[in-house]
């Protein structure tokens, strides 16, 4: 339960800042991608730099995770083909909708009706990926998922 509350709290902070920085707005994203505004790049770079410095600090102090108790890991992945092809698809979607997953969620939270379509599409894309992977890894799986476009997160779930 504490995990879920902590996860929700960090998410809420993330969502407020994504909204407050204007990233929910497709106009703001579009201006950035057309190099008309530098805000997104400056924010993005300062976010990565801060996270990098913070992680370096955790690493030096050999911190353990709060909930799991294990020594923190900092895994890096080698480049595979899927990282490029997947990012290509992602980039097309991002450039067309001018929203990526965090802004899709904050748009929904702000009551932007259009975001329901983007979110439904994203859920369908994720579902398709999960289904394909399940079929690849478990040849004997049932293989007939009947759930199509799963809508955005219901906020009514009570958790554990």
């Amino acid at each position: 339960m504490r995990r879920l509350v902590a996860g929700t709290a960090v998410g809420a902070l993330f969502g407020v800042v994504i909204s407050w920085s204007g990233m929910s707005s497709p106009e703001v994203i579009r201006h950035a991608l057309l190099f008309e505004q530098s805000y997104l790049y400056l924010m993005f770079a300062s976010a990565v730099a801060t996270a990098w410095a913070g992680l370096a600090l955790l690493r030096r102090r050999e911190r353990r995770s709060v909930f799991g108790g294990e020594t923190l890991t900092y895994g890096r992945d080698p480049v595979e083909r899927r990282h490029i092809t997947g990012a290509l698809l992602f980039g097309i979607g991002w450039g067309v909708a001018d929203a990526c997953p965090a802004p899709i969620a904050t748009q929904l939270g702000q009551g932007v009706g259009w975001a329901v379509f983007t979110a439904t599409g994203a859920a369908a894309g994720i579902w398709l990926f999960l289904r394909r992977r399940a079929i690849e890894t478990e040849p004997a799986s049932e293989g007939h998922g009947t759930v199509t476009a799963v809508g955005p997160a219901p906020v009514t779930a009570t958790g554990r």
């Binding site: 996860g7 960090v10 990565v48 992680l55 992945d77 899927r82 490029i84 259009w114």
Partner: protein, 153 residues
């Protein structure tokens, strides 16, 4: 915009600290797609028992609500180039375009191991080669697509 945009040098570091917090709390990468994926995966099995990742994504959504409540609504109207280009009787195409773009976003993010947060922020902060390659790819693709759209409309 009803709100002033938070200064980039405040917004960026706070987002970065969220990445650090998720590492310290859960020993995991912060990623919104991971949260979506948890929700979609559980729902498709008829379950609502999301782990912290699912609740993180729900938290991001609630963050949008927290931000919009004082203003009484979202901080923009219409939907960017789509509602400017497709007006009147042409509006019916927008839901299809958004759903198609959404599908590419969802599938592409899963295939490449993360979205703008999972690869872009968390993976790059770890200097993970896969994330650096994915970020360079999706940024340049989105930029090219935006200029293409600009040229056509």
């Amino acid at each position: 915009m009803e709100h002033h945009q938070l200064a980039w040098y405040v917004a960026g570091p706070v987002l970065g600290l969220c990445v650090v917090a998720v590492r310290l709390l859960f020993n995991a990468r912060l990623g919104v797609t991971g949260g979506f994926s948890e929700i979609v995966g559980r729902l498709s099995r008829g379950s609502l028992r999301f782990d912290w990742r699912g609740w993180f994504a729900i938290g991001v959504l609630l963050g949008g609500t927290l931000f919009a409540l004082p203003a009484g609504g979202p901080d923009f109207h219409g939907y960017g180039w789509l509602t400017e280009t497709f007006t009147g009787g042409g509006r019916w195409v927008i839901p299809f375009i958004l759903a198609g773009a959404g599908a590419l976003i969802g599938y592409g993010a899963k295939a490449s191991g993360g979205c703008t947060s999972g690869n872009g922020l968390s993976g790059n902060a770890l200097v993970s080669p896969a994330s650096l390659a994915a970020t360079a790819t999706f940024f340049s693709t989105a930029i090219v697509v935006s200029f293409l759209i600009e040229a056509v409309i």
